[in-house]
């Protein structure tokens, strides 16, 4: 699905250069479910940002579907994000001024789909997360778990091949976290590749492979199945 080779990400100021990722290499196969763990500030989110084309690396190579996407134009990166990648954020990141239906509609509009097609996808996605009765509700009228399910529906409606989840259960209680995790596993069973950043070892254990990041480098790989590979430090 995607491969990062000797990737680095540096943040420069006038007096210091800080590496969020350094000599970072990983290979995630199509259909794989990977958990990314590591202490705070280890580079997990930077890795996720680069994987989701939200940031560009300062060095190395990033291939997505065999295409080098390290230095694409903003427009091309936006298109790939919109068509291939779905995001689930810890803070849900719904747009507070839009109701549930319109929130799920946001990425579909950027894709330029017809209204009828969008409506079909939105109702399907919301039914799948069990929120079809809440289409007209605004985020502030939903619980945290419901908001995260809307975020999952928003990701599902785009039918992404790669789903990136940043602490998807971090703001939820145990029961809601379990429900959200089950949804993500459902999405994985449908064939999507999933990379999930988490602090929760229990959730990490439910994935196929754990990648541990410390100081911007992969230091440990626990592959549940031999067909997945990841290479630390190249």
């Amino acid at each position: 699905m995607f491969k990062m080779t000797h990737l680095s990400k540096a943040f420069r100021t006038e007096i210091v250069e800080t590496f969020a990722l350094r000599d970072f290499s990983i290979d995630v196969k199509e259909g794989e479910f990977v958990a990314v763990t590591g202490p705070s500030g280890s580079g997990k989110t930077t890795f996720l940002n680069i994987a989701g084309l939200l940031e560009t690396p300062t060095g190395g190579r990033y291939e997505l579907d065999g295409q080098d996407v390290s230095h694409l134009s903003d427009r091309a990166r936006s298109r790939i994000r919109n068509e291939k990648i779905g995001f689930i954020f810890q803070a849900f990141n719904l747009i507070p001024d839009l109701n549930v239906f319109d929130n799920v509609d946001v990425p579909l509009r950027y894709r330029g789909l017809k209204a009828s097609e969008r409506k079909l996808r939105i109702t399907d996605a919301l039914e799948r997360v069990g929120l079809s009765a809440r289409m007209k509700h605004y985020p502030a009228e939903l619980s945290g778990g419901q908001q995260q399910r809307v975020a999952i529906a928003r990701a599902l409606a785009g039918r992404p091949r790669l789903l990136l989840a940043d602490e998807p259960t971090g703001n939820l209680d145990t029961q809601m976290a379990r429900a959200v995790m089950e949804l993500i596993e459902d999405v994985h069973r449908d064939g999507a590749t999933i990379v999930m950043v988490t602090h929760d070892p229990e959730l990490a254990a439910r994935t196929q492979r754990n990648v541990h990041i410390v100081d911007g480098q992969v230091v440990d790989i626990d592959a549940a199945e031999p067909r997945f590979t990841a290479v630390a430090g190249g």
Binding site: N49, G52, L54, E55, R81, F87, P107, Y110, G158
Partner: protein, 402 residues
């Protein structure tokens, strides 16, 4: 197009959006009417007087002569003025364009009928058409035998003035569908025949441009309060001509009082001073309104961009290009401005109706509304550009920041 989601989003922040829309509506209503007032003032200032302004000067002098003395004095004065270097034509008349004092009558096309229109009366003591540089488009100038003395107008035993030269605008007003030359009109019981038509000649003072060229020239000599007109050969020094003319007049009669000696260009300048000041003041009002409106839009858009940075980041993460974000804010501004402009158009007519009632303003022409609307749309788009460009630069990675 994201019109529907933007409208839904605006409904959630309607106070700020309504305030800006109201400000735009107010600006639209005031700007449309102000532009119209300025335009009317400009039309007044640029009106064609019909006279050769750049070649004309006038002198007004007063004596204590009686009617008989006045007649002799006028002839002597005109002869003296004719000798001034550079002067090619001289005439005496009781009123002049840009002179403020105006003699007026109501004109009918049938005896005893109500007046069709009012018109100003120029009393030509001789050679007025030529001296003013008026352009005769039909008919002829007065013959010497057509002139009568002013005092005879009030005597029952003398035939009243029987001929007149009128302006084309007056001819069209009196006889819209037929030629005016040779027709008769009435100011009282006696018919007056149109023997000539001049292109235009404005009233000494006027409010509406449409009423300005309603003028009649009668062949009447020796009117009280005569003033002298001199037409000079270009490029004569008009001020020098005026000085020599004053000297010439004092040589004829040293005891006279010369109250006015000025060029027509300075008379025009003085006559329209109020219009010019008003146009400048109103232009200032428009600029101030546009600046305040623009600042309001910039302020609100900047506030919204700042408050929605995370939302913008989320949109970018979900696939919005920079252009999509720029268009989002431009479209949002367009919708707010449109709401303001539509309301402002109705308000413009309301303000206009009030001005018509209280300040004799004409009805606002329809084409001022699209002009105002386009102006405000352009202003809105320019004002929102800077905040929208800032929004466009919000990085998508902001979506994952805690």
């Amino acid at each position: 197009m994201e019109i529907q989601p933007i409208l839904k989003s605006l409904r959630r922040q309607k106070t700020a959006a309504l305030l800006i829309a109201f400000e735009i509506a107010l600006a639209c209503a005031i700007i449309c009417n102000t532009l119209f007032v300025i335009s009317e003032r400009m039309d007044r200032m640029h009106i064609d007087s019909g006279v050769a302004e750049s070649e004309l000067v006038r002198i007004r002098s007063s004596t204590l002569d009686d009617a008989a003395e006045r007649s002799v004095r006028t002839a002597e004065d005109l002869a003296a003025l004719q000798t001034v270097a550079g002067v090619v034509e001289v005439a005496a008349v009781q009123q002049v364009p840009f002179g403020n004092s105006s003699w007026n009558s109501g004109l009918s096309v049938e005896r005893g009928a109500p007046p069709v229109t009012g018109a100003t009366n120029y009393f030509d003591s001789g050679n007025l058409v030529s001296t003013l540089g008026l352009r005769l488009t039909a008919g002829r100038d007065f013959r010497p035998d057509e002139y009568i003395e002013f005092d005879a107008l009030f005597r029952a035993d003398v035939e009243v003035v029987g001929s007149a030269i009128i302006t084309q605008a007056l001819a069209d007003k009196l006889w819209p569908d037929e030629p005016a030359l040779g027709k008769f009109f009435y100011t009282d019981q006696d018919p007056i025949r149109v023997i000539g038509i001049v292109d235009t000649l404005i009233r000494p003072s006027f409010r509406a441009v449409a009423d300005a060229p309603m003028s009649v020239i009668y062949p009447v000599r020796n009117t009280p309060g005569l003033q002298y007109l001199m037409r000079v050969r270009p490029p004569a020094d008009l001020d020098a001509v005026l000085k020599q003319a004053e000297t010439a007049l004092r040589e004829v009669h040293s005891g006279r009082l010369i109250s006015r000696a000025e060029t027509f260009e300075s008379m025009r300048e003085h006559f329209f001073r109020g219009d010019r000041v008003m146009a400048m003041l109103l232009s200032g009002v428009i600029v101030a309104l546009l600046v305040v409106t623009a600042l309001g839009i910039v302020g609100l858009a900047s506030f919204w961009v700042q408050g929605r940075r995370r939302q913008i980041g989320i949109r970018r993460a979900l696939g919005a290009t920079r252009g999509s974000i720029l268009r989002y804010f431009q479209l949002e501004n367009f919708l707010i401005v449109t709401a303001g402009v539509v309301t402002g158009m109705f308000a413009a007519y309301g303000v206009n109706a009030w001005l018509m009632q209280h300040y004799e303003l004409s009805r606002l022409p329809m084409y001022y509304l699209p002009i105002g609307a386009i102006g405000l749309w352009v202003l809105g788009q320019l004002s929102v550009l800077s905040p929208a460009l800032r929004a466009m630069r919000v990085p998508p990675a902001l979506a994952t920041k805690a």
